[in-house]
């Protein structure tokens, strides 16, 4: 068995037992990246990667082995999205405005990864500032889906999903503002987890929309994702929105079951217009869960239709403010112009791509005097209604919700040019961000040879239940596959 086909748990156990060296694991990951064409000439998975950097991290991770208890990710290479601050490789958010920027400090999640023995492995490509659903909007060119290179990997964490799907790393960090981990996981046939808002520190995650942003995890399997999340979760005094609650051992959910669980099937996520083949994969998954003892109940989340409009007011509003710091004064790109204002205009209009510019303009507009009440305030009010929908359903005895992750499978590169059509790609995922609840996507079959993702959603901090169901469904699918 080559290291790259090992799970995170196997890599860790074999490394701890001395049967596997981190440098050997990194060597195999580098070889695998070459083999699949991870570079810009083919899949373009990484915005920044450096073999020597990965080797150095591998050498450093050996320090963890002297501990009595080896770290949970000892010797596991983990790819990191390009909007998470790392000390050695650049952190550029897929944007020209951060050309050459190397962070002088490290994100809390990256520190936690290293402390758990993980080997940071490259910075993955992404839609610029995480604004997009296809990883086509990167200043460093589009990433291609490893399963179907003429198609997008989804986005904005497309590079992270592709790195896992291509078998280079078993775990990758992504980020979510409206589905940016789950949607690419769905498109690439891997597992993507968005934890409860506040479960994972955002310190060092370059902000897009602060009240919606989460660091998420992509894993080759449910177990890979669970272990990744366990390592990065927890309170951080550097993030005032992080929750000071104990962190469960998520991979212990493997021993759980769905027997007696009530799984809600929200009708708004299964509209008549839903692709019948995607509906069929979802129904199959629900049948498996029923067979395992779960009770499936039809439920309704009536304000779901408002989610996309609300999201496209709240997220751009916060983004317009969060991205004001990229002004050419202190770091990143600066293009001189006529005076201060000219410098601002030249730097920002040349540094930001069209989608980022569109959202900054949109956000600036909705926060403007005279429009604030009509847009931003109203959107926040509707946001509380959307959250209340979930609260009511979970309070009524429903343990989990199950839905398709996306309305389509991976589309062809360049197929969607209308921004609004692109935004609809997130229709089933933005609700969890608006409500702050945990959600995850996992493969539930194929349509025309392309993966379909099924999504579990849970109440705040109820990740254990979500993982228990995900493990059970994954086992059932594997058993069926063997049969």
């Amino acid at each position: 068995m080559t290291p790259v086909s090992r799970s995170a748990a196997q890599l860790r156990d074999d490394t701890a037992a001395g049967g596997l060296s981190p440098s050997g694991t990194v060597k195999a990951a580098i070889a695998r990246a070459r083999e699949v064409g991870a570079g810009p000439e083919r899949l373009n998975i990484f915005a920044w990667s450096n073999d020597d950097d990965a080797r150095e991290h591998a050498a450093n991770c050996l320090d963890q082995m002297s501990d009595t208890t080896p770290g949970l990710l000892l010797g596991v290479p983990v790819a990191i999205k390009d909007n998470i601050a790392t000390l050695t490789l650049p952190t550029t958010c897929g944007s020209h405005i951060l050309d050459g920027y190397v962070s002088p400090y490290e994100a809390t999640v990256v520190r936690k990864l290293r402390e758990a023995g993980a080997i940071p492995f490259g910075k993955t490509n992404m839609d610029e500032f995480a604004m997009g659903s296809s990883t086509e909007h990167s200043a460093y060119g589009p990433t291609r889906n490893p399963l179907a290179p003429d198609r997008v990997p989804g986005g904005s964490s497309g590079g992270s999903a592709a790195a896992v799907a291509a078998g280079i790393v078993p775990v990758a960090l992504g980020s979510e503002t409206g589905g940016s981990v789950r949607q690419p996981a769905s498109f690439c046939g891997v597992v993507g987890v968005k934890p409860t808002y506040g479960r994972v520190s955002r310190f060092g995650l370059v902000a897009f929309a602060s009240s919606l942003d989460n660091v998420g995890v992509v894993g080759a399997t449910v177990d890979d994702a669970a272990r990744g999340l366990h390592v990065i979760a927890g309170h951080d005094r550097l993030d005032s929105t992080s929750a000071d609650l104990p962190v469960p051992v998520y991979h212990e959910a493997a021993a759980g079951s769905v027997k007696g669980m009530v799984i809600g099937k929200p009708k708004e996520y299964f509209p008549e217009t839903l692709d019948p083949r995607i509906r069929a994969r979802c129904d199959e998954a629900l049948e498996r869960l029923k067979a395992l003892g779960a009770v499936v109940r039809d439920v309704s989340l009536p304000n779901t239709a408002m989610a996309i409009p609300v999201y496209y007011i709240v997220a751009p509003a916060e983004a317009s403010s969060n991205l004001a710091r990229f002004d050419g004064v202190r770091y990143g790109l600066r293009i001189e112009g006529d005076g201060l204002r000219g410098m601002y205009e030249a730097t920002r209009s040349q540094g930001f791509g069209p989608e980022v510019t569109r959202r900054i303009l949109l956000g600036t507009y909705v926060l403007s005097a005279g429009y604030y009440d009509a847009y931003y305030r109203k959107a926040q009010q509707v946001r509380t209604l959307i959250a209340a929908d979930f609260g009511r359903v979970f309070a009524s005895g429903v343990d989990l919700l199950f839905t398709p992750t996306t309305p389509t499978t991976a589309f062809r590169i360049g197929a969607i040019s209308d921004p609004y059509e692109m935004y609809m790609s997130d229709i089933f995922t933005v609700t969890a961000n608006l409500a702050g609840i945990p959600a995850m996507s996992q493969p539930i079959g194929l349509v025309d040879g392309l993966p379909v993702g099924g999504q579990f959603m849970a109440a705040h901090f109820d990740e254990m239940k979500m993982f228990a169901a995900a493990y059970a469904l994954e086992r059932a699918q594997a058993a069926q596959g063997r049969a």
Binding site: N83, T91, S211, E318, A324, R325, F326, R330, L367
Partner: protein, 488 residues
């Protein structure tokens, strides 16, 4: 501009003033990161990812800043809100690294306070409303005159905690505005929340001023006056702007709502070049910080732990120490001086003598050496000991002043100095008479004239004996003994 001009128009026109005061809080670290806020560090030394607004950095609220802001709010008789909300004020400027200032907008920390700035002729207090107190962070500094052709940015000040104290438009003259600022400054000194130095920028004042005909009750259009660097400057700027506005109104014009900049060297105001009305700060709740929730118990504890305020201390000094109004005013003007006085009074058990010595000798020496009471070398206990030596007749007042100078110079205790420098009072009649006789022999002409009835020469003769005694003799005793030399 002249006072006569101001007096002339004030007969028909009334000035209406509201003040916005920004106060830097005396925390050890910044409002949202752990960088030091010390004044005068090399440029950009006190910075970190948070106050440089590096990508991915997040604010964490400084609990001490909340305490100081709450203490300020309570001292100004405000209602401290159990829930207040931080908001982003968005604008681009090179010394504002995030592109927004974290402030409070529609849900400030505290509202509805007041302070008293004096009394009317009928004795009723003049109360000025405090609309709100809110927390915010300071920007950095743009330096335009250091390098040719470019501006430099110093972000040491970026993120320094501030409170903004907004008054109601309740002041009716420049004198009232000055009084408000002096009362406010004194309160802030007493509760020890800020260095309140306009020179160092830890207290900054913007004034809103409008003019209306006397008798009118609606407010006129206001102008905002900025760029004053002293309370005196605030008063002058208000007068100049008021005269300007009245001139406009008298000529049938209308006052523009605009920002005027005070030029202290030319004694004039001129419109700011910044485009007004074009500012849309796009305030929205700061998503990186949860609402600030203060427990009622905590607020009550802050109220309970409030240091004594100037008005309370004035009342107490008058009552407990029997000081007159002048003494109270002088000794409570500065909280550190008041504490010093009180320590002397308690240690000596003689509040009157303590007041006289602190107001006389201590203040004179501070003026002479340029020290402040905080840096003054002599401990209150040593002053009390010195007063005790005087009271017990061990040293004379004249010797005490000499001893005091030595206490400042050496830090030694007064009894030690008296002993070492031979300044202990001499009350032995034989020695005193011997000195008197020596003086009479040395000054025969004066002695003769005194003997012939020229009584005013007594002072000259006693002074000479005092000098001979090096201040160790008691003048009263000398007078008696001198008289005794001529009655035989």
């Amino acid at each position: 501009m002249s006072n006569a001009e101001l007096d002339a128009i004030s007969a028909d026109w009334e000035m209406v003033v509201g003040l916005e005061v920004h106060v830097q809080l005396k925390t050890r670290t910044k409002a949202f990161c752990s960088c030091s806020i010390e004044f005068g560090a090399p440029p950009n030394r006190n910075t970190c990812p948070v106050c440089l607004a590096l990508p991915g950095a997040l604010p964490v609220l400084n609990a001490h800043a909340v305490e100081l802001a709450t203490r300020t709010s309570l001292a100004l008789n405000c209602t401290v809100q159990p829930v207040s909300v931080f908001a982003r004020k968005n604008y681009f400027y090179p010394d504002l690294p995030k592109g927004y200032q974290i402030s409070q907008f529609d849900k400030p920390l505290a509202t509805g306070g007041w302070l008293e700035i004096g009394a009317r002729a009928d004795g009723s207090p003049i109360r000025i409303g405090v609309t709100r107190v809110h927390m915010e962070e300071d920007a950095g500094k743009s330096i335009h005159d250091r390098y040719t052709g470019v501006s430099a940015i110093d972000l040491n000040r970026s993120g320094t905690p501030l409170v903004e104290i907004v008054s109601e438009p309740d002041m009716r003259s420049s004198e009232q505005a000055g009084a408000y600022l002096r009362v406010l400054k004194q309160i802030l000194e007493y509760i020890d929340v800020s260095d309140v130095s306009m020179e160092e920028g830890s207290l900054r004042v913007d004034a809103n001023v409008s003019a209306r005909r006397r008798g009118e009750t609606t407010l006129g259009t206001k102008a905002e006056v900025k760029n004053m660097n002293s309370f005196f400057g605030v008063e002058r700027a208000l007068e100049v702007e008021f005269i300007r506005q009245v001139g406009v109104l008298k000529a049938g014009g209308t006052v523009q709502q605009q920002t005027m900049l005070w030029d202290a060297t030319r004694n004039e105001v001129r419109p700011s070049r910044a485009k007004e009305g074009s500012h849309d700060y796009r305030y929205f709740p700061e998503p990186d910080l949860p609402p600030l929730v203060l427990a009622t118990d905590w607020i009550e504890k802050m109220r309970h732990d409030m240091p004594e305020l100037p008005a309370q201390r004035r009342t107490r000094f008058a009552k407990d120490y029997g000081l007159n109004e002048y003494g109270v005013d002088v000794l409570t003007a500065n909280p550190r001086l008041a504490e010093y006085y009180e320590a002397v009074a308690r240690a000596s058990g003689d509040p009157k003598a303590s007041a006289n010595w602190v107001m006389g000798e201590v203040l004179a020496q501070l003026k002479h050496t340029g020290d402040t009471i905080e840096t003054f070398r002599v401990r209150p206990a040593d002053v009390a000991e010195l007063l005790g030596l005087m009271r017990d007749g061990i040293v004379t007042q004249s010797a005490a002043k000499k001893i005091f100078i030595q206490m400042i110079a050496t830090g030694d205790r007064p009894a030690q100095i008296a002993e070492r420098d031979g300044l202990v009072k001499v009350d032995d009649d034989a020695q005193l008479v011997a000195w008197i006789d020596e003086v009479l022999a040395e000054m025969p002409a004066e002695a003769q004239r005194f003997r012939d009835g020229e009584k005013r020469l007594q002072g000259v003769l006693v002074g000479a004996v005092m000098k001979k005694s090096k201040g160790r003799a008691d003048p009263k005793q000398l007078n008696q003994l001198l008289a005794g030399r001529f009655t035989v």
